[in-house]
């Protein structure tokens, strides 16, 4: 799978546009269909594609475990943080009107931040899911033939 030059080259070419498209979907959610969930999945798909092509170890080198966990938890903390910020500014929980002098601007800030939190969590979760599943299947079932971490897709079922 990984010593196939065509896949390696296309993966390298595709990697960046997917990330850019993901960021576009994330921050353009107010004006067109999109938002945190879809963007998170797209960005995670880019990293999963990389892990599929270049192997799980390369994937783990690119996004180490603790970074993944930090993204996972960070998104919920960002979302909750916006809620608590609303409370600290004498509003109620998740109250965006108080986030800025003008209520509608506050709503904009709130929605952008909240969607960013969702995007962070979903990216972290989808990546963690893939690495957990592929890593588990490999560690338990693959005969330790010492090959550089076979990917799940390689042998098929």
């Amino acid at each position: 799978m990984r010593d196939n030059p065509i896949l390696r080259v296309t993966a390298k070419i595709l990697f960046a546009p997917i990330i850019v498209f993901g960021l576009y979907v994330q921050f353009h959610g107010d004006y067109s269909p999109g938002g945190g969930f879809q963007a998170g999945v797209i960005i995670a798909a880019a990293f999963i594609l990389h892990a599929l092509i270049f192997g799980l170890e390369a994937g783990r080198r690119l996004v180490p475990g603790w970074v993944n966990l930090a993204m996972l938890a960070g998104g919920v903390i960002v979302y909750g943080g916006v809620g608590v910020a609303g409370m600290m500014l004498d509003g109620l929980f998740l109250d965006y009107n108080v986030l800025s002098y003008d209520a509608s601007k506050g709503q904009h800030y709130g929605i952008i931040l909240v969607e960013f939190g969702v995007g962070l969590t979903v990216t972290g979760v989808m990546l963690a899911l893939f690495h957990a599943f592929a890593g588990f299947a490999e560690a338990h079932y693959k005969p330790s033939s010492g090959s550089k971490g076979g990917t799940s897709g390689e042998d098929g079922s």
């Binding site: 930090a70 909750g80 409370m87 929980f93 998740l94 109250d95």
Partner: protein, 496 residues
Amino acid sequence: MTLAQIIANLPALVVAIPLLLAPVAALLPYAGLTWALAVAGTGGALFCAVMLMGATAGGKSFSYALGSWPPPWGIEFVVDPVSAFTVLVMAALAFVATLFARTALLAEIAEADAGKAYSAWLLACGGLSGLVMTGDAFNLFVFLEISALSSVILIALGAGKDRRALIAGYNYLVIGAVGATFYVIGVGFIYAVTGSLNMADLAERIPQVPQTTVVMVGFGFMMAGLLVKAAIFPVHVWLPAAYAFAPSAVSALLAAIATKASLYVIARVMFGMFAGVPDLAGFAAEFILVPLALAGIFLGTILAIYENDIKKLLAFSSVAQIGYIALGFGLASTAGLAAGFIHIGNHALIKGGLFLAVGCYAVALGSRVNLGGMAGLGRRMPITTTAFLVCGLSLIGLPLTAGFISKLYLVRALLEADMIAVLLLVMASSALSVVYLWKIVEVLWQKAEGEAAVTEQPALYMPLWIVAIANIWFGIAPAPLVDGAQRAAMYLAGGL
């Protein structure tokens, strides 16, 4: 956060504190630190719950609009005697179970998982209190899922000790997901004909809906989903395995508060949202809830008598006790509701205490607790066993214990509704429960050969004794619990 801001945002904090501390706990590697976070989270929620109970003292109720969007456009939290009472009971038991979880959880799961285990613990507590506080029908589904998924993680953590926890977790997940989806189908139909998702708003709009079949089917599917989550008779199959193979601290938490939240939601849906169509709620109470409750009481008690695994025995006894609560609600009268809420409080104390005691035995014996393995523990672990006995006597309803108060109010409600046949059945079943308690007591003081000396850790039996003393305290001076429950019943029955 000034004190004034905390006071102003109490309803949100009861749910937000555990839910926000959970990701922080998942990040921290040290078990001791994450346990401290768990204690802080459940303690903070308990503090807010006590303050909320004070705020609804005179039967007052107020709504907390999240994101300051007024209902029915935004989501609201409803703070009234009913939700404040239930949230207080759950927060108190969750806090005590968290104290117990310090040594008990670590004894049964891998050290590395401790941080994430306490994170799932906080999520379960936050999800359940959110389930009670929310006043929005769809938001309730989201909290059903939060508490369900985090409970699955906690149950599956028991796989370190016993691989059957995996199957218990899987069944809990799939049956819970089907139940939650049934609930969503019900909400979808009700939304299609009313246009609103807010419970108070629905209570006004549902009676004016011309399509009665849609209301009936929507109500039926919502109730079907909630009956699954509350483990009432025919759909209780997931409960015994889940409580039996989960780590002991998790069994104590789930047994004490998990099904209570769903029972509270059943009461709020039947007598709150659908109060406007009394014949529908009345029919469901009389012809569905009461028969299922009675069947659950007898099935649970009889299966408990023939069960050898102590935790499964207590789980079947839980199915029976849930039957008592459902029976109370099934009477659809103020006295019946009061009996139901009183038993929500008392059963949390009783079953929480019993599972905490079994947890002490499991940690002391270092392995799964089977009736055979408990021989002679009465002599070897006197402190724990006395507390176990106090909770056991409260289970069968001995006077001067909390259980007696529950039985008293249930009997009074049954008399008022002059359902004498049901009354006799209830008396017979509580007599039967003496049988399985005696079976355990007999084993505890049985002469066992080659008993190894067993040390009793104060960190374990202190929380147990808090619950045991509460069992006695509310037996002798039941005023606080009974008044809270009766205020809740009067408030909810106001809709009848």
